[in-house]
């Protein structure tokens, strides 16, 4: 683990999960190798990396869906995982209401179920079929199910895939709210560099192995990160700092950082972002 990573983690808290020298190589094809990782209670850790860099594989190993081919994964007894997979495909042949979906996850009573639906912002949809939900509503329902397990660690794998830009921003805002309310750790993988970086305590840059890790500011300045994501990340960094400053000013009201608005008022961030866009295009 890099010194930066140690510096910002809660110093003495025991990790919820500790990954050491993890190798995953199904059929001899190496997907992950020598991955070290520790998630402590209360921190938000984001995995970034290009397609095929093993983000999903690492998260699946963390939740126990993949057996490592090498290394070890130590889970704290207090670890309780709430998992929101990349895409949960409920077979069309299965009728299931949102309420039943949540209840099968372990909702103990109707009140807890209603509360979870309210928390994720889909109160009133309990009687609806999962198949008829929109992409955003569906992911919220899966999140509600995860929350009902009273998780000590939320694991989100590209949970915003298929959502439009406002939907993505709203979803991550929700994650932050939930994290504050539940005090759980969050581990997520995402493509949405801008939003994700702004909300993370620690970023792990993955490409088969851990390229670098640290605070968003530190990581985005690292050469390994730039090699993977190019100069477009300068925009991310600017946005990150910007949103961060903004939240300091407002002092944690629920007004929540909304990237889009600020660009209109602040020329530098705007310029950075368009530079980033050009690079991506």
């Amino acid at each position: 683990m890099s010194p930066e990573g140690l510096a910002i983690a809660v110093p003495h808290a025991k990790p919820l999960i500790e990954v050491r020298g993890l190798t995953v190589a199904p059929g001899g094809k190496r997907i992950l190798w020598d991955v070290d990782l520790a998630i402590r209670p209360d921190e938000i850790v984001t995995l970034v990396g290009p397609n095929g860099s093993g983000k999903t594989t690492l998260l699946r190993a963390i939740v126990g869906a993949i057996r490592p081919d090498g290394g070890e994964i130590r889970r704290s007894p207090s670890l309780r995982i709430g998992y929101v997979p990349q895409r949960l495909a409920i077979d069309r042949t299965m009728p299931i209401t949102v309420d039943r979906f949540l209840a099968l996850g372990g909702a103990t009573d109707a009140a807890a179920l209603r509360e979870a639906l309210e928390r994720v912002g889909i109160a009133g949809l309990g009687g609806q079929q999962m198949a008829t939900l929109s992409g955003g509503q569906f992911q919220r329902a899966v999140l509600a199910r995860a929350l009902l397990r009273r998780p000590t660690m939320l694991v989100l794998d590209e949970a915003t895939q298929g959502l439009d830009q406002p939907g993505v921003a709203a979803f991550y805002r929700l994650i932050e709210e939930v994290r504050r309310a539940l005090g759980c750790a969050v581990v997520m993988a995402s493509h949405d560099l801008h939003v994700v970086m702004s909300a993370s305590d620690r970023v792990i840059c993955l490409n088969g192995h851990v390229c670098c890790e640290g605070t968003p500011t530190v990581v985005s300045a690292r050469p390994e990160y730039r090699a993977l994501f190019g100069l477009g990340t300068e925009g991310t960094l600017a946005l990150y700092r910007h949103v961060h400053d903004h939240r300091h000013d407002v002092g944690g009201t629920d007004g929540a950082p909304c990237g889009e608005d600020h660009h209109h008022h602040h020329a530098p961030a705007d310029a950075d972002r368009s530079a980033g866009k050009e690079h991506e295009a």
Binding site: A65, P85, M94, T97, F101, L104, V155
Partner: protein, 274 residues
Amino acid sequence: MSLLDDFMIRAALAGIGVALAAGPLGCFVVWRRMAYFGDATAHASLLGVALALASDLPVLLGVLGAALATALVLSARWGGTYAADTLLGVVAHASLALGLVAVSFLHGVRIDLMGYLFGDILAVTRADLAVIWAGALAVAALLVLRWRGLMTATLSPDLAFAEGRDPERERLVLTVALALLVAVAIKVVGALLITAMLIVPAAAARGFARTPEGMAALAALIGAGAVIAGVAASFRLDTPAGPSIVVAAVAVFLAAALAGPRLAERRAENGRVV
């Protein structure tokens, strides 16, 4: 003279017993797309019959063993050289053909091949009835007790892992339940039509159900209704009972397939009004 002395009553009771377990189990077969898997397991039962008769074992035991062995072999990971449905096809037809060949070697044993292929529900004895209901209740109990785990594993194996469950174990539970059902159902509908009792009622129930539990219960009811209709039709029209039951179930399925979408439409409209 008790009610159970009537062979029609015994036949109906045997069929209902099978249907009550086959409905919910069939829902899993439909949800998990295991129809071919069910076929392979059922066809293997014929081989089980032949082996049991050849070695003087109870037929039930032979069928159970063969069905279970086939299901377990199919559950094993096969490295991916063959597609799953290819492998299932090979095993399903191999076991059926092997069974038919093996039966032909049984000299001196009187064997009612048609009875094993298409069922012989009208010949169900009281002892058969006890075995069928014991097996059916065991299957139903297995599903009820492990319902949440089975459902979670069916929804998403990864979700099951994350929630501390082992989806492989849940799959094993379904495999055992399937073998058990095949063993007790062979007398009722026969090796060739067991899968129909699994998937037809479940498919018919799909359009009317809002929850997995509702679908399972409805599938059991539809199956039981089909048994009563099939046995009655068989009595009046002198048709083979097993196939008649399946025809009745298919009739319900067709009616459901035609009425289902309209029903869903109306429900959606009502939902909008409320």
